[in-house]
Symmetry: D2
Subunit: 378 residues, 4 copies
Amino acid sequence: MGMVGGGIGAFIGAVHRMAANLDGKIELVCGAFSSNPERSMQSGKELFLPESRTYANYEEMIKQEALLPEDQRMELVSIVTPNHVHYGPAAMALEHGFHVICDKPLCFDLDEAYKLQKLVKESGQIFALTHNYTGYPMVKEARQLIRDGKLGAIRKVVVEYSQGWLSTFLESTNQKQASWRTDPSKSGIAGAMGDIGTHAENLAEYITGLKIESLCADISILVDGRKLDDDGNVLLRFENGARGLLFASQISAGEENNLKINIYGELGGLEWRQMHPNSLTLKWPDQPKQILRTGVGDLSEISKAHTRIPAGHPEGYLEAFANIYRNVAICIDARNNGQEVNPVYQDFPGIDDGVRGMEFIYKVIESGKTEQKWLSFS
Amino acid sequence: MGMVGGGIGAFIGAVHRMAANLDGKIELVCGAFSSNPERSMQSGKELFLPESRTYANYEEMIKQEALLPEDQRMELVSIVTPNHVHYGPAAMALEHGFHVICDKPLCFDLDEAYKLQKLVKESGQIFALTHNYTGYPMVKEARQLIRDGKLGAIRKVVVEYSQGWLSTFLESTNQKQASWRTDPSKSGIAGAMGDIGTHAENLAEYITGLKIESLCADISILVDGRKLDDDGNVLLRFENGARGLLFASQISAGEENNLKINIYGELGGLEWRQMHPNSLTLKWPDQPKQILRTGVGDLSEISKAHTRIPAGHPEGYLEAFANIYRNVAICIDARNNGQEVNPVYQDFPGIDDGVRGMEFIYKVIESGKTEQKWLSFS
Amino acid sequence: MGMVGGGIGAFIGAVHRMAANLDGKIELVCGAFSSNPERSMQSGKELFLPESRTYANYEEMIKQEALLPEDQRMELVSIVTPNHVHYGPAAMALEHGFHVICDKPLCFDLDEAYKLQKLVKESGQIFALTHNYTGYPMVKEARQLIRDGKLGAIRKVVVEYSQGWLSTFLESTNQKQASWRTDPSKSGIAGAMGDIGTHAENLAEYITGLKIESLCADISILVDGRKLDDDGNVLLRFENGARGLLFASQISAGEENNLKINIYGELGGLEWRQMHPNSLTLKWPDQPKQILRTGVGDLSEISKAHTRIPAGHPEGYLEAFANIYRNVAICIDARNNGQEVNPVYQDFPGIDDGVRGMEFIYKVIESGKTEQKWLSFS
Amino acid sequence: MGMVGGGIGAFIGAVHRMAANLDGKIELVCGAFSSNPERSMQSGKELFLPESRTYANYEEMIKQEALLPEDQRMELVSIVTPNHVHYGPAAMALEHGFHVICDKPLCFDLDEAYKLQKLVKESGQIFALTHNYTGYPMVKEARQLIRDGKLGAIRKVVVEYSQGWLSTFLESTNQKQASWRTDPSKSGIAGAMGDIGTHAENLAEYITGLKIESLCADISILVDGRKLDDDGNVLLRFENGARGLLFASQISAGEENNLKINIYGELGGLEWRQMHPNSLTLKWPDQPKQILRTGVGDLSEISKAHTRIPAGHPEGYLEAFANIYRNVAICIDARNNGQEVNPVYQDFPGIDDGVRGMEFIYKVIESGKTEQKWLSFS
């Protein structure tokens, strides 16, 4: 694997590396870790890479690696840069025959998204997007339960992603994470709705298997001086008639990373919270609540295939993230060996999820600006 | 105290009686417990009332009691009938010089609400509305913390009231609670939004001290055959610019009585849940969360004045409900004795809260029917 | 009902009164509220009693009330004094034909306990002891589940009652609750083990239906200057061979009233916590946990008979306490009317529980002083 | 790193490998994965090792690796075999100049423990024992808080490790984990007390910084046919006079991996639970509870040094486990480069913890068999 971005000190780059490391199936062999060539070199050194495989920029990396013998060169490019530097390396990697794992949201604007979608389909390469929260075993269990009709027809969905880390004007301090995420030239047209709103949208559609059909949004900047939205509240209607709410915020002071979802069907409800990811609560009318737990009892095949250790040993964010890398590794390996892949390992977010997320960003920002109540989102 | 409605078997009548009993300050002396005179008689007997003080209807009760000597007659009328039988006894009781405690929502329609408001103001009698959830000590503590500026300016409010008991077409079985609540001729123009949405609205405005300024609602009937809304999701904007969400549902299968509120200010956030009412969570950026608990430590005077027992002995729904009755008893007693009342005991929902609730019902139902995004609610 | 002790400002007296009031079945008609006659008079006045029914001491109260006509005099004496003033009024009340509800532990010493047991049996009067925690619906549900064999044979029991209110030398400040509870001349031979250890013992034996057969205790005074135990840890063996632990402490700084119990059988486990009394967790090997909730679904008859309001409206400590008073009232009423009582209402702690508790106190204190490992407790 | 044991399908071997992988600082270069040479070979292949570095047994591995050039051979041996195969490879690895990470408990019997302790001290090599629970950031924070005197002098410690996986006679089914753990010829003299009781002992002494001075144990076999203890309850006295309880069980039906600890000092208490490892609850008399969270706010240097990702992204069991591997890697690297190591990275369990654990096993089993109440454990 080669990495684009993620120099020493970066948050998400380190996450991707740990996720790639965990299962021993992927080796970091090269990288272009920073737009600053010296920082890139320094990062490569600290990651035990030889100088020859640490590149000054992604263009060089992709070109040079493509020239290496097949058994030496990277097979996969991991892109962990800010949004405005997703499309470039992704497109180039695909064009040179590499598989791609890209951080979310997919790219800078919708135009890039459609171009990238076309490229992925044409190339036939594997493309994964790190909507990592769907990597949790209990999220997969939830989806399976709904697919199996355990809740009956879905009537209501409430998905929330509340954070508080931008409740002050943090970008004025040059804090790295805040700076680019609140900068329209790097982040794109959306702030919170792009950074975390898309996770919420992806989670809701993934678990329910339902598409949002229309939406009505109140999108706000609540911290003075900020350039992009830091709070958004959205009414949802799903294709089957279900009602819903999506709200995402980065000014919910004191919240850490409070992603959670409640889904109600004709027969019962379920609740999952990212902060306690190994529990899945099922709620039944006139019956005791049930707490399903990672690794306990007769869970679905797909949930078990994404669990590493026995029950009671908490698995966390990195393990869920690593499930994407592990699955991609299995798929690449199978492809290399001409083997079939068990569908449970093909379950990771891809280019279509990425395009859907970009469309969501555009629709929700548009809704925030209009006096029209409902916008179609199909 | 005399009671209107609440014959044997009624849910909320029994609650009101237990709430009135708890502190030994109020005695049930008479009642018109049912529109069926025989049922009323039977109820009176089971409540240890003499036949002479058990009346066939509220008109008779109010008239007869008014004729009794002052030291024998009831002072207070408790109205625990369905919505369409609130205005009648309330108006008549006020006109005959009795104080009134009335179940919520205030009455059948907005017209009645304004008339009743006028009557209360003219009569000078005490009028309390049982928005009982504001009776919890930790709700009062939350309000005080915000008044004291501990959270800074409020930016976001999320209030939820989810129930699941109407997730089937229960009214078709003649279940008593379901039947009248889903019947427009008894409940009024709203179902869930009137029954529990108003509690959510009241709680949010009570704790924050802020008025909702505009709203945008998606109001639905999700169970086939039902005549009134059973689910509503509402975007809120508050007078100070804060954003918010209110959602209330009676089809959230598996939920019991899940009323909760999250409020975020510039400095921190708070969370309170009715199902665990003795805890109030404060969330701070870069500081440990704090769990305030009923009766623990240096709480506000108003919180302590509504706590009966030392910390660790859970106080519940009835105690919160009883706080309204207890406060009304204190106020009546003070009035009778020409004494001042400590303001902490004057804190119970009154006629203006009731009118506000009725206006909320009308506005939110109107919003549910229009394509206009925001409706003003001031 | 007449009350002994519980003058204005007393903690447990007010609890007993609210418990008696709640259901409207018991009326406070007289009292001897304090050993100080003036305080007693003042208390009676504040409780709306006539002077003629407020007595200077319990002897006078019992004598005078016995002289009143049957339809006027009290039927029941509630004893809410410190331990050394339990036996006297209880014995005298029984001898004069009154029923008794007495606070726990039963009395000052084991000798009194046996004498009182004899008196109760001879008198045939109703005698209830306020081991109130068994009044919670979910405690009764737990007991029923075990009776029904749902957990299989019981193997292990862990019961804990941790408080922190005596983690400082509070009695040196003359704090009323601390003063008598740590004074051997009022409390008896035990401090924490008598005050709360007996609750734990009662809860464990009540739910499991098993007797503790032998025990091994480490009993300590951990706050300098204190005269009675403030911490105790006890190994338990039950009659059926089950193992267990009982620990009770009043120096567990920061704990409120943390009474909880875990019970494990061959087939599954259960957990109940007094601080969240409306949930009962069932734990199953290889199956989802289940959360039973007060009022939800198909619970046992006995649990439902001790629940007042629908699910989701938290019932607390006072309601559990009131279940003892309510049941006693039902039993007295049935006796007066020559009726049978449904066994679910006969379920309240009585004289044998009280004697068992006193024996526990003596055995556990003895164990704390000896080098012998196991003491028989049968 | 070379691995002894942990062939495909083994539980703890996979955990060690993931822990070693996570931070990209340790590479698996060889292994003797099974006592069955073919299984070892197959395992090596699946782990991408060349045949030349997959050995038939640990003796061969250590000998052959020692012959390789310094820059090629393993530096560290990871021992993940059952207890009776700890001493052999550990001793041999040390004698050949390799560092060792060994699973717990230290070895088969106390004699081996003392010999190994001597060997480690003589060799000067790094020796780590995977008492992994002390690797959690919030456990380190708890220890630091106590060191800093925030709780005052410690008075009481309650540590529990409850599991339910052996609540049936699982070893009769040849389940691999159950078979060796309940077999005295492989596990040693203890079952549950060795497997998990030592974790509890280690956790309590690690966090408090206090040694257990004496103990009194009730050790049982509660499942018919089992050969080693499956339940143990122990009274503790600590060197400073603090009281305590340790209980560990593998027949607590329905429990997953319920390790938790409550510690009470003169000033306050703390609570940590392995199943929710990112929270540390501080309890204060007359003050709100505080919830410290991994990565939130101004935590101790040592806690932060063992946290990988920002707050709200749950870190779990593998991350805590990996902290031992990461720290060992840092220490080896520093030693190789003649550098000092920041003390926060020197914090991992070592040979003395291992010997202490073995002594605990012997003492607690002895106590379980004697009628003497207290045994000294110093």
